[in-house]
Subunit: 342 residues, 2 copies
Amino acid sequence: MKQKITLKHIARELEVSISTVSKALKNSDEISDDTKEKVQAFAKLYNYKPNNIAVSLKNKRTKNIGVVIPDIVHHFFTTVFRGIEKYANEQGYNVIICVSDESFDKEVINMEMLNNGSIDGFIMSLSAETQQKNDITHLKQVVDQGTPLVLFDRVTDELECDKVILNDQEIAYEATKKLLKEGRKRIALATTESYFNVSEKRADGYRQALNEYGMEVDNDLVLVLPYNDIQESMIEDFYDRAKVDAILSVNEIFAIQCISVAKKRGMKIPEDISFIGFTDGLLSRYSNPTLTVVAQHGVKMGEIAAKMLIDRVESEAEGSIEDTYRTEIVQATILDRESTIN
Amino acid sequence: MKQKITLKHIARELEVSISTVSKALKNSDEISDDTKEKVQAFAKLYNYKPNNIAVSLKNKRTKNIGVVIPDIVHHFFTTVFRGIEKYANEQGYNVIICVSDESFDKEVINMEMLNNGSIDGFIMSLSAETQQKNDITHLKQVVDQGTPLVLFDRVTDELECDKVILNDQEIAYEATKKLLKEGRKRIALATTESYFNVSEKRADGYRQALNEYGMEVDNDLVLVLPYNDIQESMIEDFYDRAKVDAILSVNEIFAIQCISVAKKRGMKIPEDISFIGFTDGLLSRYSNPTLTVVAQHGVKMGEIAAKMLIDRVESEAEGSIEDTYRTEIVQATILDRESTIN
DNA sequence: TGAGGTATCGAAAACGGTTTCGTGTTAATA
DNA sequence: TATTAACACGAAACCGTTTTCGATACCTCA
């Protein structure tokens, strides 16, 4: 096991000072070409790499960004993360990831773990519990301390910071209109508990479209499903009590399960009933019939979030403080597949 | 924006030395109870948290572990990562993740980025390209430098280090035997190019079972599919040229696609043909019929990998060098679902 | 009374870099 | 020849901790 080589070693070996070595490696013009060559050759030979930790301590910049997300075994978050990681790496940043597991406490603990110099800024999406409790003192604290923060997807209006969101309401409106244009009369909404910010906005878009077509929003047509542990009977009951000819689902799984039950009941898709779901994951692509979806462009969202964060980090480093926070909106698109009529 | 408070600030304010503050906060018995109380109260009041970077520089330990995986939008890797993150966090470690994107170059660059003091050790799974080229000099370099390294799933025999793998061959043997016991006579193997270590081992298990039942391994029954961009016609052609009554697939997607084509051809599942796939992801659970799978227990694999790494990191820190590398084997299990006869 | 012990604290080195400023040498200029 | 500027380099401070090694003051006991 070879010892990691440091400036000190090089300096001793070449009988020059540490400062000379440091400067020579940076090609400073204070140093003669002769010594530069010597030092650089030696450094290359022994594969010298500056110690990141030492550099970070000196610069007060780590080139690490912290990402806190509710779940990692989850297609949407994964794609966003992909975008973050991609952009960050291109800019020479590393990404430290923590999973809050939809838990408020874990979210708080994770952020405290990271916010002691380990990272230059946060990108995060709120946990379910945090949205439910609506307690964001930990976020405020981070922002107060001057740590840049970018929220994506599951955001909150109570905090002033940079944000990246989907045009949820608008695209839900578009999706619903697409179903209406198919001639659907009894369009259902499959959704989660309402404390999810995004679900609420999607529901708004759904209602807006119905209203525009002069339709009443029938509460019997709203199917609220639990986040986990969905029983088929819930969907059966729903089909029993509500005549339905289309379903807009706030996620992929709900849609797939509704399709599955519909098929068992002998309904023809998309003739008798059509489906649109949010999230362009594997399920939608490989289901039978394939599912028409709202593509959320997670990678793009992640890239934008990373860019916003890094821009802010670097501008703060240069002392030019921009104090206006921005909210970027990613335009979702509808991907037509077999579960709707085209 | 409040300045981050340091030992120096506390020391100045309380008119004691930095060392006293440091010791007081650690409850050292060199310090009187009086001063301890004063210092601790002040620290709590101003929410003092030690700067991680400075601590890392001093201890030469970062409490960060680096994870390099080929893909993040991928169920198996995601679950493994979940296990890593879970165990690591419990032990007070953070996880820095880099995605190699199945590219050799990115893998090398990522590892170089991290291996300059940013992390205490690596957990990784080889990229496709790395396996293909069979070039692992970058890994050897890391190990030579004394950085602990744990390989999982996509490992290599050419490197001595800790490893965590699945009992791929054995479970493929079991799965194939399960199909044989169903009375299947023409069992196909849907697989990737052979340079994937794990695919090769699964193929071995498949052959072993066939041999045990006195069957020839018919090369017409091996369907090699590309990693991306699978055309349905490839599967159509396969069904055309080979009479098949069961398929063992090295992943989920191949199985799902084979099922889809089989259904279109009017084959009854599992009566006419049965399926087993590797990876217990969403697709298998929500497909129609649901897919019998080999569960790889990614979370457990991740936890084991993290434990192996952290154990080694900490034992090295204590100077007690264990020089025997271990290979842990995770036992896969078969989850019976609708695509096979039970 | 003086040696030794204990309690409490501070100075300083160290981790591995970056950066400012000063200094000695040489060469150009008045 | 004396002054000065350019050149090449080193000393030292600094980032925020931890930790070793005194140093002082007070106390105890022979």
